[in-house]
Symmetry: C3
Subunit: 139 residues, 3 copies
């Protein structure tokens, strides 16, 4: 069994945003030399997500609106977590809705995806450098 | 390390529906010959889910009602994604709530499940053939 | 490839509650002797969750409030599942929101975590003994 590990660093310039990281993960897979196995891609922060969906800007605006409806950023006082001095209570919940991680099959040296599957980093408390872990195991 | 890959195809006859695919995944596991490892089961489409829950029709109606409350199909105009000509903006969000994938342990050649765990395919934009990927790694 | 399996048993004394199980999973990893690979940690019950987030009591109260808003326990009659004689229709939905499982990378014999990542067991139908599965594969 072989394994490969890489941290991807991102700094989203707004509080919230989505970034397509599929090609970053494909680069990792190429460097790993692994042909058959599994890739784990996870946010290393608890106010960010990694998820699979479509690379369509209208859909991303729909996600943004929907997440703000279900867990609004304001008022800050509606989250007990913010009494610790944080202002990101909403971000912990938004990340829960969108997910921490994805596991993707590796087949014949490629991400084994359906036609529209793309991997995204979802930021809910941005404007600082944050990390995603890529771990690949296989042969 | 051994690996096994299979695509399962489904055509749900309604826009939305759930299908128990546990025995399909067990068939894959048997054919793989793998006794210890992990199974990844994921929707290959971004408007469908794979999840683990109970095979109880009342619960499935509860999921259906709850998903329609949180991300209603109508009006189509409430989703910017639908401006692309699609009518499945809600389906992308419903699939996010129910999840893309499950990872299940393989122990002694069987799915290592608690008493009520069953694997379901969740369709949110059906009436056409769609795929689930089963990838097994182990020994 | 090596594999390791352990069931962790918990009895939460209230209907709902969160418990940090990071050190339990670290114990399993130490006993497994596995240095590189993946850990799967999943609830074996369909009214409980395993998830990664911050060990901050205010945040946990935020999760509790938010889950009750999105899938309230009462009235029992609002869930068709409860017509089977159960009273845990809400718990199936709460567990769906918080997730069944996490997959964590193992690197150099440790859980490969960002600074605040901790693993929690989330109980939504407690006051009885329930199980979490830890399965580790690697080398």
């Amino acid at each position: 069994m072989r394994s490969y590990r890489k941290e991807l660093w991102f700094e989203i310039q707004t509080r919230r945003g989505f970034r397509n990281i599929t090609s970053d993960v494909e680069d990792c897979l190429r460097k790993s030399g692994i042909k058959e196995g599994l890739v784990l891609v996870n946010a290393m922060h608890i106010t960010a997500s990694v998820f699979v969906n479509d690379d369509e800007p209208g859909l991303h605006r729909d996600f943004e609106r929907w997440l703000e409806e279900l867990a609004p950023h304001l008022p800050l006082s509606s989250y007990q977590h913010n009494r610790t001095g944080e202002d990101n209570g909403d971000a912990h919940i938004k990340r829960t809705l969108m997910g921490r991680e994805v596991v993707v099959a590796v087949t014949a040296g490629a991400l084994d995806f359906g036609p529209w599957e793309q991997i995204f980093y979802g930021e809910f408390d941005g404007q600082r450098a944050k990390r995603v872990l890529v771990k690949i195991i296989g042969e």
